[in-house]
Symmetry: D2
Subunit: 436 residues, 4 copies
Amino acid sequence: MRPIIPDYLAEVLRDVERDTSGERAGYIPELATADPERLGAAFAMTGGEVYGAGDVDTEFTIQSISKPFVYALALSDHGFDPVLARVGVEPSGEAFNEISLESDTGRPRNPMINAGAITVHSLAGADGLSPTARVERVLEGLSAFAGRPLRVDEAVCASEMEHAHRNLAIAHMLRSHNILTEDPRAVVDGYIRQCSVLVTVRDLAMMAATLANRGRSPLSGRQVVPELVVRHVLSVMFSCGMYDAAGDWATQVGIPAKSGVAGGLIGALPGQIGIATFSPRLDVHGNSVRGVSLFERFSSDMGLHLMEIPAAARAVVRSNHAVGSGTNMLRVLQLQGGVGFAGAERVVQEAMTIAPAEVRVALDLTRVNSIDDVARRMLLEIARRLTLDGHTVYLVDPESVMPDPDPGDGGRVTIVDHVDDAAHPHATAKKGGRSG
Amino acid sequence: MRPIIPDYLAEVLRDVERDTSGERAGYIPELATADPERLGAAFAMTGGEVYGAGDVDTEFTIQSISKPFVYALALSDHGFDPVLARVGVEPSGEAFNEISLESDTGRPRNPMINAGAITVHSLAGADGLSPTARVERVLEGLSAFAGRPLRVDEAVCASEMEHAHRNLAIAHMLRSHNILTEDPRAVVDGYIRQCSVLVTVRDLAMMAATLANRGRSPLSGRQVVPELVVRHVLSVMFSCGMYDAAGDWATQVGIPAKSGVAGGLIGALPGQIGIATFSPRLDVHGNSVRGVSLFERFSSDMGLHLMEIPAAARAVVRSNHAVGSGTNMLRVLQLQGGVGFAGAERVVQEAMTIAPAEVRVALDLTRVNSIDDVARRMLLEIARRLTLDGHTVYLVDPESVMPDPDPGDGGRVTIVDHVDDAAHPHATAKKGGRSG
Amino acid sequence: MRPIIPDYLAEVLRDVERDTSGERAGYIPELATADPERLGAAFAMTGGEVYGAGDVDTEFTIQSISKPFVYALALSDHGFDPVLARVGVEPSGEAFNEISLESDTGRPRNPMINAGAITVHSLAGADGLSPTARVERVLEGLSAFAGRPLRVDEAVCASEMEHAHRNLAIAHMLRSHNILTEDPRAVVDGYIRQCSVLVTVRDLAMMAATLANRGRSPLSGRQVVPELVVRHVLSVMFSCGMYDAAGDWATQVGIPAKSGVAGGLIGALPGQIGIATFSPRLDVHGNSVRGVSLFERFSSDMGLHLMEIPAAARAVVRSNHAVGSGTNMLRVLQLQGGVGFAGAERVVQEAMTIAPAEVRVALDLTRVNSIDDVARRMLLEIARRLTLDGHTVYLVDPESVMPDPDPGDGGRVTIVDHVDDAAHPHATAKKGGRSG
Amino acid sequence: MRPIIPDYLAEVLRDVERDTSGERAGYIPELATADPERLGAAFAMTGGEVYGAGDVDTEFTIQSISKPFVYALALSDHGFDPVLARVGVEPSGEAFNEISLESDTGRPRNPMINAGAITVHSLAGADGLSPTARVERVLEGLSAFAGRPLRVDEAVCASEMEHAHRNLAIAHMLRSHNILTEDPRAVVDGYIRQCSVLVTVRDLAMMAATLANRGRSPLSGRQVVPELVVRHVLSVMFSCGMYDAAGDWATQVGIPAKSGVAGGLIGALPGQIGIATFSPRLDVHGNSVRGVSLFERFSSDMGLHLMEIPAAARAVVRSNHAVGSGTNMLRVLQLQGGVGFAGAERVVQEAMTIAPAEVRVALDLTRVNSIDDVARRMLLEIARRLTLDGHTVYLVDPESVMPDPDPGDGGRVTIVDHVDDAAHPHATAKKGGRSG
């Protein structure tokens, strides 16, 4: 069978190819001479597969797409408070190169504008790192996201440094507010090296997939940054990643994203997919024209929107029935699918209908696909309360979908592999009857 | 068994109760004299249950919490384009009563600031409605969200109208830009009536749950506004709902939300839950102090964050095995859990490993809990391509979890209730073998 | 002899006539249909003569030119502090219809922008005036400046009121900050009546001449507003009168000025002249295109620039010589021209060279044209100190150019009509020898 | 006799001495440790005298007071257009260190804010000067204003360069807009050297007096910058010299002025006086607290306000009488005092009353103190028109107060020393009867 996704990607690329509107970034000579016809797109799955079409292996500079990743590194290296003390998380509604400092504190409004990103660069790695060591930390970190060693394009880097007056202005302004505490010129130099890292569409898709995969690289399996950092970074990308077009993007595309002036664009949909595109011509907001079109197609074709509500699932409580009769009677609540807070709440409702006389109760998880943490705690609390009410509680969990099944403080559950094991309790549970 | 969620809510309320910081809204006399100790919280499930603790049945005015709902009504009544032509969707990074009009067009930056909300009010209901009829449309619409008839607090309404100079200023400014085309005074009057609608925490939780439930009231089952409208509104709430504290909220709480100066606060987590709290003391951003604390607790305790990635589920492909042998051999791909784009992609990968000689292939959906639209299309495309490659394809779907199973253009699937029906195809499929 | 100035004015009008650039004010229908070819200019001398050319008797609405005059009325009616507490005096660098309120206090930046002028209107006349009585006070005051009774153009007034949304917005905003304390709609109505007062170029020139003449009407001789108010108003006109083109105007034209959207433009050069022009087409700043050209010509042709330093005058000390000899010897300091601070300082220097033995000293003011207050005090102090040093001091002042010649505290001067009266002191001074 | 002005200055200093409010500039260590009690004031007359009291010979750094002088140098060295193309003249209403660039062009709003002054520094001297040569040009120019060689305080200069991040930020921003075309760091270095020039109150008063004296040093007699440049610079000082307190200053003090963070403050009243004060404690606007009080006193005590209208002078036309009778009759218009445009206009009026039969007419300038250029042209035009009407015109001008008395095109005047020479025309005029 021919693969489906590459066919789809190729078709969508063909559709946007005819759009030659927009202009290459003009302020850096090396970017102004890029081949404007380059076009590529890739999907990286959290399972590690990458599907691409077009120029997926062409190298170009990462530019601003480095911002969320280095922000994640800085948060990992310093923790939230020191970073938030220096850079806010509020959308500025302004262009990427606006200074946008808070008037009282001089704190940049967010890490996606240059002022914030320059500050964030200075917070990557341990305090007191030399500029060179800091760039190494950044390069190592970006490589970890990409799952392969990346390198700096020295020509673009030199070219940008010559036209870095606005960034130098920003850095000196930050220094004057003590937001930056190091030599502004060295920080801008390091920041420009960060922006000059060479990546491919394939790399970017994998970097985005690492965010989508809770910070763990689908390629290397390495936990690049902690989960809470990823959640924070994705939130900021959603509000601030597309500059003054952030609101349009949030409503129409709905994928946490970041664009770069070299023409790259990434999106990360938590738990699902990392997407990257490349096309050098930019719109007035500095976002790739075709890249934006591609993401609109992806979002629309595949329902990849953060506010898209998954199709109504089957009811979590598949059945509530009795097995046997008399004192041996077993009340069975058979669950199915993924159980989260809302599903667990349904189980609570069913559990409340159980009569005191129905002494023996089984929660049958055989058909349960996943249980999230809050649901786990709620199911265990159901078990605990039933125990306290005098019930004997069984958990039917042949594939151990419920981790650490300890209901705590007065609760007790017997773990069995099959509902029959609960229905006929004289039979010994396999695995010696795990019980909490 | 005692219910779990009310216990939890009561405990969290006790924790925040001691915090008496903040001030009641001072600019409307009726609000300034509200009982500052009122405190309530409620969860409304998409299934219709409401859990509450504290003052869940106290009536107070909805104020700005009406904004996202009336925005949804306006989008429903006019479609996206006419509304977006008048009101943007970009965060303003400013306080709720800043004028924040785009300098060139006079368009308010977003519908969550007063300028946007006043404009949106004028877009509720059909064009040319009388002011009275428009207020009726708004009242009817808000009632539909709440699932019960709501009414206006005439005293607060009159009190606000006397102190409406800032809103009148905004409305006249909008009129001067032709963003408003009606009498500014009549529009502000209507807008203030909208803000003076009386609600309880229970109502607000249900209104939020209606958003979380794709626009369908869990109480009445009525589709109040279309799904696409809800997706759009939730996106805007996420970026702009908490004014100049939107970024902090997005990162820390991560729930699309809206606050009102009377002390109400709602959050809607798509597909999961509607939450509402009430406590009149406000912080400097105009958000309820205890309300913000409550949401921080809810988000943190229950992982209710938009960027929270659900716990790793079991693999979608439960097994890939052969049944029987020789020409009768059946290749069975047994799926489980919820299948979305990423899951369907896994199935594609498995499908590509099927040898041409393995003529008969079954996709077993027996343990599948849900299939979203893109996954449905991908599974059907797998079936179509397998058919074209010469395979005979069965869909094992005893509970019809796959809607409309037509692979289209050259594809063919035979629907059966049990994998045995595919393994022994001479046996007649139940229901006459649905086939696409 | 044919008069000179009308010839000059006619010539300059011919030069600017061919410039048909600019547009009539579009936002008020009555102004948009004005005859765009109208062109007039007039000079009003502080002596009362008015020279004009072109359409000097065509009536048009005064519009914003009313602002400095009503500001002067408000300052007269309330004193400085209450007015300055409500309206600042800082240039805003913004267009006339920007709101430009100070962010903390809501105080308009200055009285020349609409926000300030609307506030100022509410401060004309006594506190608590009815709106009608206030408009009467304004109309009476403007008429006093013009030296003839003015009236409102009811058609323009009605037309403007229909398009007053921006001004209503501003007024409601001011009301919300308690800068306005009355009904915003009534104040705007009054303000629009103020702007709709009909004037001619001749009127405006006379109004400007009243400012140039320390607040006294050259026509009626009436002191319309106090001198200190005029000084203040002229300063504000210089910094803020031409909106966002104020700096260009201050440097190039250098005359305190004010323009109106109906095409009028006035300038007042303190102590010298009032100028007015009329031509309806406006530039992007809202100033009359030809009016600006005319003023540039006037300033350049006639050196009418506030920073223009008058031609070097003859030395104030015309001679320092001795008359007679021995004990009868009289030291004579003969002064000439206008004596101000700098001239008096020269006299101090000469006086310091007088030897103690030269007992008799005369300050001869016969050829002195004027003495300002500080010079008067300095000359009297010279006389006092000379008296204390043992000198006998004469003031030769046949035309009483020195008012109230009392040197005070130990000083003594004998006033004589001719230096001979001092040289031969046995001769009785005419008028009985005024002495201080 | 004891001098008057130093007594006055000493008295005023005593009055302000007790005010110890305000703070020394904190951001430059060298300034933060200045003796806060230093206090001095000086008047420099356009005649060259300097009166001082207090610390008039203490050296301190000139800081921002250099701005108007270097602006004058740049305008002299390049002409108006190239400088105005780079720096505007509009008040910004903002603090001195706000960036305040025009959003479209990047042009600083005016030369009194740092962004403008840094740009202006780069425009001092010829194009293409080395940074060192530019600083030399600036130092030479400031010295020419002061009338003595000035030098840089190397310690303050080094100290400021270490804290120059905000200025470096501004310079890089200007460079990014191509407003600056040289190395931003070198320009800021030069600008800081400019600000670190050491001056005394005596120097500053003389520098201000050079502005008040049309650009000619009262000390050296050298024309440091052209008159038109001075007029322009004084206008800008009036609108923009006191930052965001410019409007208060313009209305209350009314003297074109500039302050520096080291505590200096200058004012220049055109044609009259240069004033300087020194006291290191600054108010929130960055202006010397006591310096502002001193200027308020000076302005109030001595009527030194730009809008102060000089006391009403005697009428320019002293008399209009006939001498002799019959054909020999001579119509004499006797003028007096200073004659400007307004005075000349009075003469026109009198001249228009002359009957055709009164063939011989004399304009008697014996008591005229000064005639400005426009008045000169008008008087000559009167003479010309009278000639054309058949009159014979005499100019009685014994001290040649009327320069170049040529009425042009058909006009003719006979210059005589005494009215008798005109009354008896057979008598030969002295000096051979100058005639135009």
